[in-house]
Structure formats: structure tokens, C-alpha cells
């Protein structure tokens, strides 16, 4: 059987090297065509009419005025009479027209009568949600009551993190053309190989009829897997318009209202322990909402899962607001924020440096050694021991503070198939039904193929983003890099084996004594016995060699190409203005392990992006709902605040690349690095202020309120 395992670390020429993103110039020069750039000849524009009410029943709908407008090609009712609308922004009808302006006018001309029902859109105060609350049951381990009774020290704190949206720069949507016997679908998607089947199902068509292409996409963060109702409606509009291509992308307000949110999470948390910092008890009463279906349930206590005595209660709250979708590490950022905040408050209570308390309790985690090394590394990078001072000892109007957040994630490779073709002229092609969602997947696949074949990057052409290629899983759960690297490796090894079989007789060397190196086929141990890659390929005759490689999650760990279990810690230093409550980032440090790192440069970029998202969520990002109107008030990028460059501060990324981690194989990175930052920043602010701001984002009003509460206490 072929040997697939990765070449030893020190022998790799491309994998593990700092290689620039191959499609960087395409993207930064605007030549890369995203689905929203697919302006086909004869393109029609589609617009949704959405519900202004958060909870209502559609009584009647009259589309005749829209149909009467010149330039309108089709009108579709999505939520017909009798439909119960559960959140504002729900799709009610869709219109296609020859221009976007006409489509907008037509959508506005549709007359809908609603029976307005009562709604609830806010969950921050559990006492006010009434019957919308649903208890998820109690979990008890050990004897929490006794642990608290016997404890030397304990804290009780309130913590909250609101709903945020995905806020994709390229909104959700697609261009789609439904011709006679096939649908051409250009969606902005994280799931090239499955989204076509999803669309086919919605349209009750055979999956074979949907052709998907998405070469570039402008952000999904977990929200862009399905074909979505708007994708299906765009297809139907196309069909009703004689098969002309239809472009339907959500406008910014709709994008922020219905295209996915990260659930909120609130908790009252109690921690018991000893004066030396050892934690002995945990109690949490938490609640959350992610829309009408209730909320995500964060795994508490996070990472420190083995606190011996625990009691957890969780309540789901159902809201009339846009529904949750997976958001970069579902439930983990919330869990990390809640847990690490409570631990840091416990440290403050007993007058200890939280760094020492985190270290002290690592035996309560599943990967104590890794976290210990990472904490030590992070502390060195941020100069923790020199800078740290207890919050209670700080003075002055401008104060700095330090904080820690911690993360864990799986990240095993998904099912992936890859076809690698070596042409007689020596060119190499990789086809894989995966997608590059901005994570440098293209670049990494090229590295793996070129490394395996002993070729330069430029000799390998990677084709992805199309469902005619061998299927690969959706890019979610940080599963892509493990999956596609492994399938590419196997396809390349298999193809190379075929090539070596062809050239071996001529070289007078058994195939298993040949290797590919430096664009040559060389006899192992005898560098003089060699021929160039090109010459070798000429020996294969007129038919190309084309081989498959497959990553099968069940056997992947055994093969050692990819595995799971990524750990990371993040530390932040912030500066607060005690008079205005404005919090600014000085530095965020991430120490992150993800096994074998295929490309440290793009990996660091991936982590830096996650840190920026953490800054947004810790300092400014929040969906603001209005209880009276039931609508999102900041469904724009003016008051839905994201960090700009001056807000980000210094970002320091340390990829934990060691022989030991490397030998585990490849592990996904996208999510683990997006978990600990909010906690680190919130804790740094608490340290700087000498008081906990219970809720993020740390807006001036929340910071000033926390300071005022302390003065009044």
C-alpha cells in the first residue's frame, strides 16, 4: 500500500513555509470575480419584500401593482396568506426586473395586509421574558452545595454577551439561471459540493441539474452553507423570466437582520475555591437566545471542565428576531468569555494574579501541558509578569490592564475527495470540490501537491469552487484544511506512484526506489540516476495519469494525516480612560496550536483576522433591537459597529509550531483562534478598571456604569 504520511518536518520544502497567498494579487486588484460580480448578459435583478413586523400573520397579499410595472419580469409570493411571520425581515415576496431600481419600486408596490401579533425581541432581562423561557434542565456533578459551604473564597458575578450578526462583507445571495434542463448557480457559499444538492431539494429537482460555481466569496463565518429560501426564489424568478440569469443579494439591512446571528449568552456564575487559587466549585444559571428556536447553549464551565463540584442550569429564550446560524466556533466564544471572566474575578477576589490562577488549575483541563506552555509563551510575549498589577492598586485617569482567554476546538478534517492529473506535457492539475473562503485553501492545496510531487508551486494548477469536481465537505467546523490536504496528499502520492511505474523500467530502478525531488525523478541514494520531471512525463504516452485521493474521517486519525484537538490562549492589554469609559486595545497576543501548520504565514493571517473579530465583539459589536417596533435598529454599518484599523491595536500571533504538535498531523485553525479574544479583552478591562463590566461590548456607558456602581457600593 502506498505510504501517505507527511514527509518529516525538516525535509519539507513547501509545506510549513511562509508562502504568500496565491490569489492575493487577484483579490487586491479587483480581478477576482465574486458571485456578486457575475454580471451575465441579460442579467435581471431581484429584490425581496420583507416583513416590517416581528410577529404577524399574513392576511392578504396583492402583487398585481408590482406586476403592472414595466420592466418587471416575475413576481413571487413567498409568505402567502395564513403564514405566521416570526421575525421582522422575513421574506414575503420577491420580484425580478430589468434594473435593480425597478425591482425595488415593484417590491414596494406589493400590498400586504398583516394581522399584527405580540412580539418579544429582547432577552437581556430574564425576568421579563415570561413564557418565552424554556428551562433546559439541571446538571450536577459532585456536591456543589458543600463545596461552596466549605470554600475559603467565593465569588458571584453577572456576565453577558449579546447577539451579534455575521455581517458578511459580501452579503448572502447568488446569481442563478434556470434554463431548460439545468440550473447555473453562482452562490456566495462555504459549501460548493453540497449547496447544489440543497438547491435541487428546495426546487424538487434531481441534484444532477444544478451546476455550482464559486471561485471567491466575501465572508461567511458559518452562515453560508444552505442554498437558502432566497436562492431558491431567485432560481424560480429566473425560470419564470424565461431562464434569464437573476441576481439576488440581500441588501445590507436585510443581511444584518435575517442572514444569521451568533446567540447571546447571559449567566450568573459562582466560583468557589481555596485561597491558593484552586477552584473547587462552579455554579451557573445561564440563559441565551438565538431567535425563535431558542438559543445556543455554551459548554460551561469551559476548558476547566473538571472543576470537581458543579451545578449548571440553562434556559433558552425564544425571540421574534432573525435566527441563529453557526458563527465561527459556535457557542465557544461565549463559553470562554463567561468562564474566563468568572475565573479572573475569582483571582481578583483572592488578590492573586489571574495568570497564576489559570496555571494553578490546568489539571482541571484536558490538555494541561499544552496550555501551560502556551500560557508561559503568551506571558513572555506580552511581558505579563513585569506589567501585571492588581486592579485595586492602579491609579490615574488612563489605566492599563491585562487579561486572559482560553480556547479548545476539534478541527479534524472532513470527508474530501481530490483528483490529481499529471499530463504528458508535465503539467499538473488538482481538482477538488472545495472552496477558498478566504483562508488560503487554494494556496495550501498547491503546497501539498507540489511538495508531494517535488515540483515548484507554479507547476501545479489547483481548481476548486465548482461542484463538477470530486466532492469535499463544506468549510465549517475548521475541517477544511485537514480534509483537503489529506485528500490532495493521497491523490498526489497515488498519481506519482503511477508515474514512477511508467519510468522505472527505462531507468532500470524498481519504482519503489524512485522519488520525486527538485522537478526530477531520482533514484533513492543515487542522485546521478535521474531524469527531469518533463522527460519522465513524456514516458507516460498520450494518456494523462489521473488519480483520486480520499480523506475518510473515520480512518484519518489512524493514517496520521489529520487529527483533532486544537488549543490556544489569548492575552490582551488594554488602556481605559477612566473619565470617558473608552477602552482601547494596546495589544492582543495569540498562542495557537493546530498540529502541522501547512503555511505559517497564512495561518498567522487567519489568526489575526480572528483577533480583529474578537476586538469587534469585545468593544463594539452588538445587534440592537427595539421592543416597540420589533426591528433591528442598527442594521447598517454605521451603528452596527466594527473595528477600523485604528481600533485594532497591535496583534501578535505565535503559531505553536513544535515537532510534537507537528507529529499529530493537520488540525483546523479557523475557529479555535476566534474563541479566547473576547474573554482576554474583557478581563484586561476588568483588571484596568478594578471592576468587572458585566456585559460586553465594553461601550463607554457600560464602563462608566460599572465604575459608578463600585463607587456607590
Amino acid at each position: 500500500m502506498a505510504e501517505y504520511k507527511w514527509p518529516p518536518m525538516e525535509q519539507r520544502k513547501l509545506m510549513g513555509k511562509r508562502i504568500a497567498r496565491l490569489d492575493g494579487p487577484m483579490k487586491s486588484s479587483g480581478r477576482a470575480k465574486y458571485p456578486s460580480d457575475m454580471n451575465q448578459p441579460g442579467l435581471l435583478f431581484a429584490v425581496l419584500l420583507t416583513s416590517p413586523h416581528a410577529h404577524a400573520k399574513v392576511k392578504s397579499i396583492d402583487v398585481a401593482p408590482a406586476k403592472a410595472i414595466k420592466g418587471v419580469t416575475a413576481v413571487r409570493v413567498i409568505s402567502g396568506p395564513g403564514t405566521e411571520i416570526q421575525w421582522a425581515g422575513t421574506e414575503v415576496a420577491a420580484v425580478s426586473a430589468v434594473t435593480e431600481e425597478i425591482a425595488r419600486d415593484a417590491a414596494k408596490a406589493i400590498v400586504v395586509e398583516y394581522e399584527v401579533l405580540t412580539h418579544l425581541v429582547k432577552e437581556d432581562n430574564l425576568a421579563k421574558v415570561g413564557p418565552r423561557a424554556k428551562a433546559a434542565g439541571e446538571q450536577i456533578t459532585g456536591d456543589p452545595d458543600k463545596a461552596f459551604q466549605d470554600s475559603e473564597a467565593k465569588i458571584s458575578g453577572d456576565y453577558g454577551i449579546p447577539v451579534i450578526t455575521h455581517c458578511c462583507l459580501e452579503p448572502h445571495g447568488s446569481v442563478v439561471a434556470w434554463g431548460n434542463d439545468k440550473i447555473d448557480f453562482w452562490p456566495s457559499t462555504q459549501a460548493v459540493s453540497t449547496v447544489g444538492g440543497d438547491l435541487a431539494k428546495l426546487l424538487e429537482l434531481p441534484a444532477t441539474q444544478v451546476k455550482v460555481d464559486c471561485q471567491y466569496m466575501g465572508g461567511g463565518f458559518g452562515s453560508k452553507f444552505p442554498a437558502d429560501r432566497w436562492g431558491a426564489e431567485a432560481a424560480r424568478l429566473s425560470k419564470e423570466s424565461g431562464g434569464r440569469p437573476v441576481k439576488l443579494f440581500l441588501d445590507r439591512a436585510t443581511e444584518l437582520t435575517i442572514a444569521g446571528v451568533r446567540p447571546s449568552h447571559f449567566a450568573k456564575i459562582k466560583v468557589a475555591g481555596k485561597k491558593d487559587g484552586t477552584m473547587t466549585g462552579w455554579q451557573s444559571e445561564s440563559w441565551a437566545s438565538g431567535g425563535i428556536g431558542g438559543g445556543g447553549m455554551a459548554p460551561l464551565p469551559y476548558v476547566f471542565t473538571n472543576i470537581p463540584n458543579r451545578r449548571m442550569n440553562h434556559t433558552q429564550v425564544s425571540l421574534n428576531a432573525g435566527p441563529a446560524r453557526a458563527w465561527r466556533a459556535p457557542n465557544h466564544p461565549q463559553a470562554s468569555f463567561l468562564t474566563c471572566s468568572a475565573i479572573s474575578d475569582f483571582a481578583a477576589e483572592i488578590g492573586m494574579d489571574p495568570y497564576d490562577v489559570f496555571l494553578k488549575n490546568l489539571d482541571l483541563t484536558l490538555r494541561a501541558d499544552t496550555y501551560r506552555k502556551q500560557l508561559v509563551k503568551g506571558a513572555e510575549l506580552i511581558d505579563w509578569k513585569k506589567k501585571f498589577q492588581l486592579g485595586s492598586a492602579k491609579t490615574g485617569n488612563i489605566r492599563r490592564g491585562l487579561g486572559i482567554g482560553i480556547a479548545t476546538w476539534g478541527g479534524a478534517g472532513h470527508a474530501s475527495k481530490c483528483r490529481l492529473t499529471i499530463h504528458p506535457d508535465g503539467t499538473v492539475e488538482v481538482e477538488i470540490g472545495s472552496q477558498d473562503i478566504g483562508t488560503a485553501t487554494r494556496t495550501c492545496i498547491t503546497q501539498v501537491a507540489a511538495e508531494t510531487l517535488g515540483l515548484p508551486m507554479s507547476a501545479v494548477k489547483v481548481k476548486l469552487g465548482n461542484n463538477s469536481y470530486p466532492p469535499s465537505g463544506p468549510s465549517g467546523g475548521s475541517t477544511t484544511i485537514g480534509g483537503v490536504s489529506s485528500s490532495t496528499r493521497k491523490a498526489a502520492v497515488n498519481a506519482l506512484e503511477k508515474l514512477l511505474e511508467k519510468v522505472a523500467p527505462g531507468m532500470g530502478v524498481p519504482p519503489d526506489q524512485l522519488e520525486a525531488n527538485d522537478s526530477r525523478i531520482v533514484a533513492k541514494g543515487n542522485p546521478n540516476k535521474a531524469m527531469s520531471w518533463k522527460q519522465a512525463c513524456q514516458k507516460m504516452g498520450p494518456t494523462a495519469i489521473s488519480e483520486m485521493g480520499e480523506n475518510e474521517p473515520r480512518s484519518a486519525a489512524r493514517e496520521g494525516l489529520n487529527t483533532q484537538g486544537a488549543s490556544g490562549i489569548q492575552m490582551a492589554e488594554v488602556e481605559v480612560d477612566m473619565e470617558t469609559g473608552v477602552v482601547r486595545i494596546v495589544e492582543v497576543v495569540a498562542v495557537q496550536d493546530c498540529g502541522l501548520v501547512v503555511n505559517p504565514r497564512t495561518a498567522e493571517s487567519q489568526v489575526a483576522g480572528a483577533l480583529i473579530m474578537s476586538v469587534c465583539s469585545a468593544l463594539m459589536e452588538e445587534r440592537i433591537m427595539d421592543q416597540t417596533t420589533g426591528r433591528v435598529l442598527n442594521a447598517d454599518m454605521e451603528f452596527y459597529k466594527l473595528a477600523g484599523l485604528p481600533d485594532v491595536g497591535k496583534l501578535t500571533v505565535h503559531m505553536d509550531i513544535t515537532k510534537e504538535h507537528d507529529s499529530r498531523g493537520i488540525i483546523g485553525l479557523g475557529e479555535p483562534c476566534a474563541i479566547g479574544g473576547v474573554a482576554a479583552i474583557a478581563n484586561a478591562a476588568a483588571n484596568a478598571l478594578g471592576v468587572r463590566v458585566p456585559m460586553v461590548p465594553l461601550t463607554p456607558e457600560r464602563v462608566l456604569a460599572a465604575l459608578a456602581n463600585r463607587r456607590n457600593a
Binding site: R104, I398, D626, T629, L633, P700
Partner: protein, 320 residues
């Protein structure tokens, strides 16, 4: 968005004649276009005034500095005359953070822009009856003037008011009038009333700031460092004799439906030296009359700090 006519006059007279019912002035368009796209404004005709040469330029004429209304925010902040005499204006325009907005947005447009209240911008009217009081009002006014709870959006307004500036306004009857900036902003008491003293068929033609210049500064408290609106600002202008204040003018921005003058604070400072202590007291006096809503009491603290820091900046004392 409804369709509209587009007119491109080259003289003020021509522009005035085009400003018939339903017509609106278009300058940089950074505010007006979003209002139109959101269906808050539905003009029948847009009259572009950027082609009118006489409405541009920055100069010193007699006892006044004159700023043309179509001067962009970027031109204003980089003009040597303005930089020399009016740091308060430079600091206020640089607070309008995005370079794109500063490149397109004009001084006249900044003064005449509509409030950003999220209830107003989503079609609930400027007074948004009941919605603000019972809803999300953390960015709203802490100085109540009856029914209006939005905050005046202009960052230049408070600075120009503190500097004692006057606007020259041309009317269709051929007459012009001088309106002090302090009287230009109004708090409407009924839906449909405007928040500025300008009829739809009038044009702001000149912004005049009196000499001699004073020690002046603007301080803005903002949440984000990148593009964001102020949470509170203060602009101050001080006349000094040695280290003593002989006249003070203090205006707070983004805390009321108009820029808010801090008369008590101004009085307190006469005869004083600006120190962290006197500035702090002036800040406290400035917000005494505030009546915050359910979620925005914190803005009192911010306005107080803005006044204090603007005074210290003007006097050349370290702010924090």
C-alpha cells in the same frame, strides 16, 4: 427611491430659481443620497450647487474669515488660514472620521445635514413620538427641549457657534440675511418642522467667522477611533488677557437637538486661569441643566469631560 430631475446651475440666482416646491439642494450628497435611498426624503429635483464658483473658497475679508459652503471638510481641515486661526474647526472636521466623507462632504452640507436618529432614519419621523423615550436612546439628547430627542448631527455647528460665526443665506426674492449659527439650529416642537432656520428654497452662501481669533479648541468623545459619530463634543473659544480669561464661549455638540451653549460655565471662567481644577468645575456646570433619558445619563459625564478637555486643549494644558 423615487426618480428625480437633476439640475446643474452655475450661479446662485439660477440655483434659487430652480428651487421650486419639492426641489432640494445637492452638495456632496453624502447625507442626501442615503436619505433618498432610505425613502426619508423624496425630492422631485436635485439642484447641484457644486458648480457654482462663488460658493467655494476660503479667504479673509475685512473683519471676517469667509468659508464658502461647498468647501469640502478635507479642504477646511487642511487650509493654512483655518489651521492657523481655528484649531476648533480643524479638530471638529477631523472628527468626521472617514477620508471618503471628508473628501465629498461640504461645510454647508455638514450644517444642513439631517439627524442620524435611528427612528427618524427608518421612517418614524423626526420626533418619533414615544419611540425614543420608551426605546433605545443611548445616543440621544440629554438636553431636552420638549418633544425633540434627536441630537444635532453637525460637528462643525458647535465649533462655529463657539467661534461666533454667522451664516449668510440667500432667498429666492433676491434678498440675503445674516443668521448667527447660534440661531440657525432649532428644536422642532411638532412633526414636519425643520431643525434648522432655513427654508427649502434658500441657500447658505457664506460662513463668516469674526476676527480677532481666540484660543479655541474642540474635544470629541467617541467610542470607535475609526469612523464613528461623536458621543459628545465641546468647542470652546477663549479671549485671554495674560493667563486670565476675559471672555469664554462654550458649546456642546451631540447632546441636544441643537448645539448647547454652556452659559453658566462660560460665566464661571471669567477672570480665571484655565487649570485642571477650573476646567473640571466648568465641565460640571455645563451639564447641570441636563435631563437624560432612560439610557443616556452617561452622556452627562462625557459632555462634562469634553468641556474640561476642550478648555485645557485651548489653553495648552495637558488633558489627561
Amino acid at each position: 427611491m423615487v426618480n428625480f430631475e437633476y439640475a446643474n446651475p452655475t450661479t446662485v440666482k439660477e440655483a434659487l430659481s430652480l428651487l421650486t416646491a419639492g426641489a432640494e439642494i445637492l452638495a456632496g450628497g453624502t447625507d442626501l443620497l442615503s436619505l433618498i435611498k432610505d425613502d426619508v426624503h423624496q425630492p422631485k429635483r436635485l439642484v447641484n450647487i457644486k458648480g457654482i464658483k462663488t460658493l467655494g473658497g476660503i479667504s479673509k475679508i475685512g473683519n471676517n474669515f469667509r468659508i464658502g459652503p461647498t468647501v469640502t471638510l478635507d479642504e477646511l481641515a487642511s487650509n493654512p488660514l483655518i489651521r492657523g486661526a481655528f484649531p476648533a474647526l480643524v479638530q471638529a472636521s477631523l472628527g468626521i472620521t472617514s477620508p471618503q466623507i471628508r473628501n465629498m462632504g461640504t461645510v454647508g452640507g455638514d450644517l444642513c445635514q439631517r439627524p442620524r436618529c435611528w427612528y427618524f432614519r427608518t421612517g418614524n419621523g423626526l420626533l418619533a413620538k414615544g419611540l425614543v423615550e420608551n426605546g433605545e436612546n443611548k445616543y440621544h439628547a440629554i438636553f431636552g427641549t420638549g418633544a425633540a430627542h434627536f441630537v444635532s448631527a453637525s460637528s462643525l455647528g458647535p465649533a462655529l457657534m463657539a467661534l461666533g460665526a454667522t451664516l449668510k443665506i440667500a432667498s429666492p426674492d433676491g434678498k440675503t440675511k445674516d443668521v448667527p449659527v447660534a440661531q440657525f439650529f432649532k428644536a422642532p416642537s411638532a412633526e414636519g418642522e425643520r431643525e434648522i432656520a432655513l427654508a427649502a428654497n434658500e441657500i447658505v452662501t457664506d460662513i463668516l467667522i469674526p476676527t480677532p481669533p481666540t484660543k479655541n479648541a474642540t474635544y470629541e468623545v467617541r467610542h470607535r477611533q475609526a469612523v464613528d459619530w461623536p458621543l459628545a463634543t465641546a468647542s470652546v473659544s477663549l479671549r485671554m488677557s495674560g493667563t486670565k480669561v476675559t471672555a469664554a464661549s462654550i458649546t456642546m455638540g451631540h447632546v441636544g437637538p441643537t448645539p448647547i451653549r454652556a452659559i453658566e460655565a462660560e460665566k464661571m471662567l471669567i477672570g480665571q486661569t484655565i487649570t485642571p481644577d477650573s476646567a473640571e468645575k466648568a465641565g460640571a456646570a455645563a451639564v447641570l441643566g441636563a435631563k437624560p433619558l432612560s439610557q443616556n445619563a452617561y452622556k452627562m459625564q462625557l459632555a462634562k469631560v469634553a468641556v474640561k478637555r476642550a478648555l485645557l486643549t485651548a489653553a495648552g494644558v495637558k488633558t489627561v
